[in-house]
């Protein structure tokens, strides 16, 4: 039986970096700010690595650091710049592809969401964290995360004029919410 490989902090950071950066982009709406955020997160994680408890979710720990950094520094100092154009047009799809406009509209709508809803949607819908994990990362109640995710989805659907509820891929509670809105 092979022994588990030793935890290498730098290697684990490398593995988590793309997700960290994607979360930072979604939070800040700006690539440069996102890179700054990730850099600060890496530095903080490195200098406080003794605080990480082996066996717990390393990436979630990093997400928490990044989120706290964003809220305590970047958002307060109003360095948040909605630069959806640069982010949106980065590498997503070729302008000749039919879905190009859809993606631009989606990114604009995503960045227009309140940041608490946006982060909840990204954590749960894109990163695949459970409500419980997302609640732990964001430091709020599970019900709050669920509410934020649902509100984000409904708002996106409205903005993108997705009338058909099925386009949401919604769970029962989301269908109920959208159903009320459509009456």
């Amino acid at each position: 039986m092979t022994e588990p490989s030793p935890f290498c902090f730098a290697d684990e950071l490398v593995v988590a970096m793309p997700s960290l950066r994607a979360f930072a982009v979604a939070l800040s709406g700006n690539v440069t700010t996102a890179n700054d955020l990730v850099q600060e997160t890496l530095l903080k994680a490195w200098s406080h690595q003794n605080l990480f408890q082996p066996g717990t979710n390393f990436k979630a720990w990093l997400f928490t650091i990044l989120r706290n950094t964003y809220y305590s520094q970047y958002r307060r100092s109003r360095r948040e710049v909605l630069d959806t154009g640069k982010i949106a047009d980065g590498r997503c799809v070729s302008p000749n592809q039919p879905s190009h406009m859809d993606m631009i509209e989606f990114k604009t709508a995503l960045q227009a969401l309140p940041v608490d809803q946006r982060e909840a949607l990204i954590l749960v819908g894109a990163e695949g964290y459970s409500y419980e994990e997302a609640a732990s990362i964001t430091g709020c109640a599970i019900g709050t995360v669920k509410s934020r995710v649902n509100r984000a989805r409904v708002r996106l659907a409205r903005t993108l004029e997705m009338v058909n509820v099925d386009e949401l891929g919604a769970d029962w509670s989301s269908r109920a919410v959208v159903g009320k809105l459509q009456r």
Partner: protein, 72 residues
Amino acid sequence: MASPARPEKRQGSGIESDDRAAGSAEPIYLRHRYHGELGQLLREYYTDVLDQPMPDRLLRLIEQFRQKEQNK
């Protein structure tokens, strides 16, 4: 430098209800719910950002960490 591993894709076709987990000790998961158009856009958006190359300054920082670990 080798491309860092990406998180596993969590695509699926099923819809899991919150209510199914109600009263259960099991964690409530939203995974696999986002299969509609909105979910597809969200995945495309996120995958694109994940796939973007890391800036040199972040890679250099990791390299510094590695050297410090080796020097321990």
